[in-house]
Symmetry: C2
DNA sequence: AGGCTCATGTAATCAGTTACATGATTTG
DNA sequence: CAAATCATGTAACTGATTACATGAGCCT
């Protein structure tokens, strides 16, 4: 149920159309919370029905139309309440560690393949996180600048630091996953040697 | 869709009733993949319909009944195929890092509260992982011993080592989250001091 | 007799994924 | 005029959550 709060967080900075929101999502916040357009549009409608946001229809050209949403007072309150409420941690459901726990059930080749893919996946994630951190460092993140434009200068540091804090946490997790999978590869090698020694 | 493979992984070791399976789940594998009984029973029925497992009705006392499932050849094949196929990484959806990225939108108190809860959550997870690692170390894990009983002795080491590998990865992640949240607490403090200095 | 554990589910709902569907506007 | 991008959705399905529902057997 965090989707609506993710949307509110972005909309609070300033009104956006569903389309623009979706773009922002796939960039910045998308690294933390993915949502396809087919989920965003209906959710915006529901949020409007719940009074959290309001949509304003704007004409684009002759017949083109777009709906620009802004956060209502009730929406802002709901967001604040969410920020101050305890997060509900959903139960673990970790396919990678599930598979890792049973790697002896497959061939060394399949085990290595799994671990190589795990490394590739987290390396690409890490690259994305690093990219965001670079944006923050160079202050050219579209999102961040939009946000900084609407808050007083003495709050800029906090906005920047928390964003960095969040992405550094993600980057560290990615590095941890990569290091873990590399140790896994070493383990596969070692067990294969043990196995070869046992049956000459 | 990993639930059925998690169930197969446990059932492959030996036949179990839905009830026993659920118990095993909530212990060992449950740390990696949570599933409530209301999901396990229907899934077992579906797996039977798909020919992956077979259930045998057993009487318990006069009228009591239990269905003991075992993996079919087709189920074993499906499991092997899954183990050799690339894992599908579902998109990120991380409420904690989402909130962290926007902590400047709330009060220092709420920010600290969030971080304290994050630490408490991951400390309890870490304790569970450590507990499992201790079981593995002392070789008194119910699950592990069940597994070791049905595989040849020269494969014992692999079974043990992969389990350790998996849980060590989880424990490390937990430690990472704790360290990250502690740095977050220090950041909240620092920003509060900056803020206090700015408006005397 | 009462409480615990064994044992098995159904029903309603929600969140998310995938595929499909359509059309206007801008830019080269 | 064609292609890219702007713009908005619907429909079918899957996987997971929550709440409800029931009853037998075992131990004290």
């Amino acid at each position: 149920m965090s989707l609506r709060y993710a949307l509110l967080a972005i909309l609070r900075v300033g009104p956006l159309s569903g389309y623009d929101l979706q773009k922002q999502f796939s960039q910045s916040v998308g690294h933390v919370w993915h949502a396809p357009d087919s989920q965003i549009y209906p959710e915006l409608r529901k949020m409007q029905a719940d009074g959290l946001i309001e949509g304003e229809e704007q004409l684009r050209g002759q017949r083109g139309m777009r709906r620009v949403y802004h956060v209502t007072e009730a929406g802002d309150r709901a967001y604040q309440e969410w920020m101050a409420s305890p997060l509900d941690y959903q139960r673990v459901r970790d396919p990678a560690h599930l598979r890792a726990a049973y790697l002896e059930n497959t061939t060394p080749e399949a085990a290595r393949d799994f671990l190589h893919r795990h490394i590739a996946y987290w390396e690409s994630e890490l690259e994305a996180f690093q990219g965001e951190l670079d944006h923050i460092e160079r202050m050219d993140s579209m999102m961040l600048n939009r946000r900084l434009a609407v808050i007083p200068p003495d709050e800029h540091e906090a906005a920047i630091e928390y964003k960095r804090f969040s992405y550094e946490g993600l980057a560290e997790r990615a590095r941890g996953e990569i290091a873990w999978a590399r140790r896994g590869l070493a383990l596969v090698d070692r067990l294969e040697r043990v196995d070869a020694a046992a049956r000459p």
